[in-house]
Symmetry: C3
Subunit: 210 residues, 3 copies
């Protein structure tokens, strides 16, 4: 595994999601092993779905042991320093957002490397970015983050679209990675700060007699 | 993508499930993006599971962009005409049933094309037909349709068996497709209309002391 | 399919998980078809996840029809003899534990055959052993067994580690299979009998103001 920006981002995203998983598990009062499982599943979930749908098997974390060791170490640190983590919900939100931004971009990149159409790469980016958090929330018995009021996957899709546009303009890859990751993170932070929400479409009650 | 009956059915099934997903999401009052996600996942769920288990990767909707555009357009139309859809639950049931019938048959067909044993093709058809609806219901926090009183997957299995029998009798493919799709749809409609149910097997209480 | 110890264990694990699935479904009062679905999904779940992540597709139960017939027969027997099964919860626990022990070991073995790193084989064993039970519990609307108080996946991991150590010491395969399967089963039985539990890590309340 060489140390280019793509790999560094992938590792940072794994670390961020592992921390968010460990925090969620401790918040749910799971035991030691439950904490490791949730951290692991949250960190590898998005990439595993991406690799499986593309047919890139054995999936990445099986080919490269760095992921499993990294998640183990990060989880132990999260447990040790759990009481130094003030404002748990805010920390969880922050690490989840960082992981979301980074994994969206790795998903789009892997899609392009597999010669998939631009719109499919955006969808793949959104699935890679969100899936880890969705199964973390399902396993912790929370309403999945994707369906709460915050605009969650929308941030991934906008970031993915910017990635595709910059790619078609031949912008250097490292600049694309950093810009689009920051766009996803910035959108999510802005949405939560200013309570931006997407429109709802209700079905009028009087036309729903059953 | 050439325009044969198989492809036309596949597109109709995708449309039907996308509508059922969009209706379910609006009924649950999800926001604009939630509606698209549920429509997308419901429409591609069955085919994605089928392709992944067979090893037909990248999965179909990644190779062919028509699916993602189609689901997008259908979802927009479902949102625009939501108040023209009288009797929501009945519409949802109807589109779900059409999708169920069609996807069962595409699942069996893909199984045969991959030289799988007849009984495996039937199982694959049932999984392809039901999986989209199951994840739609899980994500919308409903009891999955497969476990409600209606005989749901049983219709798929009976349709799949008829497919295999007609196939062994060398009936032309297009006739098989139409006949078996209609059989699945007819069984499900009949079951709901006449409240047919399968037997239950209770474990006697006095033998369950723990 | 030749009859070596690996294949015999694989079949025994399938039978054990099919019974546990059928019992759980009857306990939830699902109908005839629901019982078959849960038995099938519980029995093939772990192996299907293992095969999909490795890229061993079409997955094993598609290539070899013995699994689907076996699960069908076992489920019918479980239904017929349901009232002879005294102490349902204990029987369910016992068959679940046998399946857990066996599938952990087949998961590790398949990982080694695919030249995966030792720690990845242990993780793959744990996922193979636990996944069937997890989806059984999710579909039956129970809290997944993996997150209850009993040390569930920990038993798999310890068994997997012993497998890897014996493998590096060149112990004959059949001895490894039997020893490690029994270790997983013994750990789980011991844990439940003596109420052993792993430590929890609470986050102090006064530091969680949000």
């Amino acid at each position: 595994m060489e140390l280019n920006l793509f790999n560094i981002l992938d590792i940072l995203g794994t670390v961020a999601f592992a921390i968010s998983g460990a925090l969620a598990a401790m918040d749910r009062r799971l035991d030691l092993f439950g904490i490791f499982i949730i951290a692991f599943v949250t960190a590898i979930g998005g990439g595993t779905l991406r690799d499986t749908l593309i047919g890139n098997t054995p999936v990445t974390w099986m080919e490269n042991t760095i992921y499993i060791y990294l998640i183990g170490v990060v989880t132990i640190l999260a447990i040790i320093f759990r009481n130094q983590i003030f404002y748990l919900k805010k920390s969880l939100f922050l690490f989840d957002t960082i992981g979301l931004g980074i994994f969206t971009i790795t998903g789009v990149e892997i899609g392009l490397q597999n010669n998939l159409a631009a719109i499919i790469c955006v969808a793949l980016g959104a699935m890679t970015g969100t899936f880890g958090g969705v199964i973390r929330d399902i396993l912790c018995n929370e309403i999945p983050v994707i369906f709460r009021k915050e605009i969650y996957a929308t941030a991934c899709i906008l970031g993915g679209l910017v990635f595709i546009i910059m790619h078609s303009l031949s912008v250097p890859r490292d600049i694309i990675y950093l810009t689009t990751t920051l766009i996803v993170i910035a959108i999510r932070l802005a949405v939560v700060k200013w309570h931006i929400s997407l429109p709802y479409f209700y079905i009028s009650n009087n036309q729903k007699p059953d």
